[in-house]
């Protein structure tokens, strides 16, 4: 082999070694959930328990029912980045965005969930189980933790596994569920079921606009913050509840074949129209005892024949709604919806 050929062979070998090394390094550097909550960026490194600079608390006006847990939520948007609001119904968050949600039952922190847009094409979902001392939380196993905290009626709270995270947050366009224009609106619903007060310093959609965090900018979020328009305060509150608890799946883009009225946060703002469609929609699932084809999503004349109420009242796996994330009925919401049907809907 002459010198040129030897040099070419060595050169090619070096190229392949380099490519192999780069491939191995990229696998090694693939981001993953840290082992401890204290390593996720939620807290100041030097002051355990103190929320880190740049991490902002927020409170959706219509909270998701989580078996009565007290919840706290935070968001981190990397400095200088913006949320892509080209599609105002589905905000696209910049790489590096993190969301945390802390669950407290009976005065004790049980778990904190992390949603992190780690790369352009990858969201990381993780949940951390708090230790006995309440000083830090440890990354939960892939399948979650069954029976992590005691609830009422002998039932227990389960820390979700990774697959459960995907079931709610989706796989096609994953992301947070309670961080959108309606949930962060400053025109907050005073009758929201399980509504929480907006404490000073909590981030709103108007704050995001003022801080130039939207691209394109959304001045209407300050001038005319979104709200559900309805003929009664009860209708507004109930639709907000349904958007938070049902709208993630019950919408045309919800990764299911659901074809009924969309309950997505951006589709329920014309509240009375949505209610009219819910009253007409025949569900494929039948309320037990009802003849085939008779069940409607909402039934004003016979409230107990409403699919929504029947499924909210169930906590049996094949019929309960929502189908996961809760083992206790939301009695307050059930009572509110019963009253709403009996008062507002029968007048229609």
């Amino acid at each position: 082999m002459n010198r040129k050929l030897r040099a070419a062979t060595i050169g090619l070998a070096l190229v392949w070694v380099g490519a192999l090394h780069a491939a191995v390094r990229s696998v090694e550097q693939e981001p993953c959930a840290p082992a401890l909550l204290s390593e996720t960026g939620l807290y100041e490194a030097s002051r355990p328990g103190a929320i880190a600079r740049g991490v902002r608390q927020f409170s959706p006006q219509y909270p998701l029912w989580s078996d009565g847990a007290a919840k706290a939520r935070w968001v981190y948007l990397p400095a200088g980045t913006t949320i892509d609001t080209t599609n105002h119904a589905d905000w696209v968050f910049p790489v590096g965005t993190k969301f945390w949600k802390e669950f407290t039952f009976n005065g004790r922190k049980v778990e904190t969930r992390l949603i992190w847009r780690a790369t352009e094409d990858r969201w990381i979902f993780a949940t951390y189980a708090w230790n006995e001392e309440q000083t830090d939380a440890v990354l939960a196993p892939f399948d979650g933790i069954t029976g992590a905290a005691e609830l009422s009626g002998g039932k227990r709270h389960n820390i979700p596994g990774q697959i459960d995270c995907q079931a709610c947050h989706g796989t096609k366009r994953p992301g947070p569920l309670g961080f959108n224009a309606l949930q962060l609106s400053t025109d907050r619903d005073p009758d929201a079921i399980h509504g929480e007060p907006l404490a000073p310093g909590m981030m709103t959609a108007a704050d995001l606009e003022r801080e130039h965090r939207f691209s394109p900018s959304r001045p209407e979020l300050i001038a005319a913050p979104p709200r559900i328009h309805a003929n009664s305060p009860r209708t507004r509150a109930v639709l907000g509840y349904l958007a938070a608890n049902c709208g993630t799946c019950h919408n045309p883009a919800g990764e299911t074949s659901f074809t009924g009225p969309s309950l997505k946060h951006s589709d329920i703002l014309d509240g009375d129209d949505v209610v009219a469609r819910m009253l007409q929609y025949a569900t494929s699932w039948q309320v037990p005892g009802q003849p085939e084809g008779a069940t409607r999503m909402l039934n004003a004349l016979e409230p107990d024949a409403s699919a929504i109420l029947a499924r909210m009242r169930s906590r049996r796996p094949s019929s309960q709604m929502p189908p996961l994330g809760t083992v206790l009925r939301d009695e307050k919401a059930i009572a509110a919806i019963e009253q709403w049907i009996a008062t507002d809907l029968v007048k229609r």
Partner: protein, 195 residues
């Protein structure tokens, strides 16, 4: 001359190797829809997998044949017959915890009563409105369309969920290639709620 040919062979080898590497590294399903040949291959493999994994054992109603009970292949993979209304199941007795219907499409146990699904692509009663993603999500999460109620016993969904994406895509491609049959399978019946 000999050296030139050796160099050409080396360049050709590197090019082929690079092509193979790029192909191997490309994400599954990226780009245009599966080519017709790929689709055909998937349907064939799906038919093999469905036959080998015993899907007909429960999703095809059984009848009494000359040699005893056998799947009624005229109703292949159509699930529990809609006109076969099941009476309430007998209560559990001693070690007999669960019961199965004569068609092997209805099952009663601690989970309530489950009926096997219509797997043909009928848009109203089968998988006609399902997407490949929904099917894969169902098998991976053991939940209806990856988000809804749990898939109930005796469906061995945890086992099937361990299949790789390509096999699940093949199973779905085969099921979608079947003639759609309208057969509205009843919804599962809940067990009595624990007091």
């Amino acid at each position: 001359m000999k050296r030139t040919r050796l160099t050409q062979l080396m360049v050709l080898g590197v090019a082929m190797f690079s092509g193979a590497m790029l192909r191997a590294m490309a994400p599954e399903g990226q780009g245009a829809a599966a080519a017709p040949e790929q689709k055909k291959a998937r349907v064939e493999r799906g038919a093999y997998l469905v036959g080998m994994m015993g899907c007909n054992d429960c999703h095809t109603p059984w009848k009494l044949g000359p040699q005893g009970p056998e799947p009624d292949m005229t109703k292949a993979l159509t699930g529990h017959p809609q006109d076969m209304v099941m009476p309430p199941p007998p209560p559990p007795s001693g070690p007999w915890l669960w019961h199965g219907g004569a068609t092997n499409t209805a099952f009663a146990g601690p989970w309530g009563v489950s009926f096997t699904a219509n797997l043909t692509p009928d848009p109203e009663t089968g998988l006609g409105k399902w997407t490949e993603d929904m099917f894969i999500a169902t098998m991976r999460t053991a939940r209806h369309q990856g988000k809804g109620r749990p898939i109930l016993p005796p469906m061995p969904v945890k086992m099937i969920g361990k299949a790789n994406d390509e096999d699940l895509k093949s199973i779905f491609a085969y099921l979608q290639s079947l003639a759609p049959v309208k057969n509205r399978v009843p919804a599962p019946v809940d067990p009595p709620e624990a007091k």
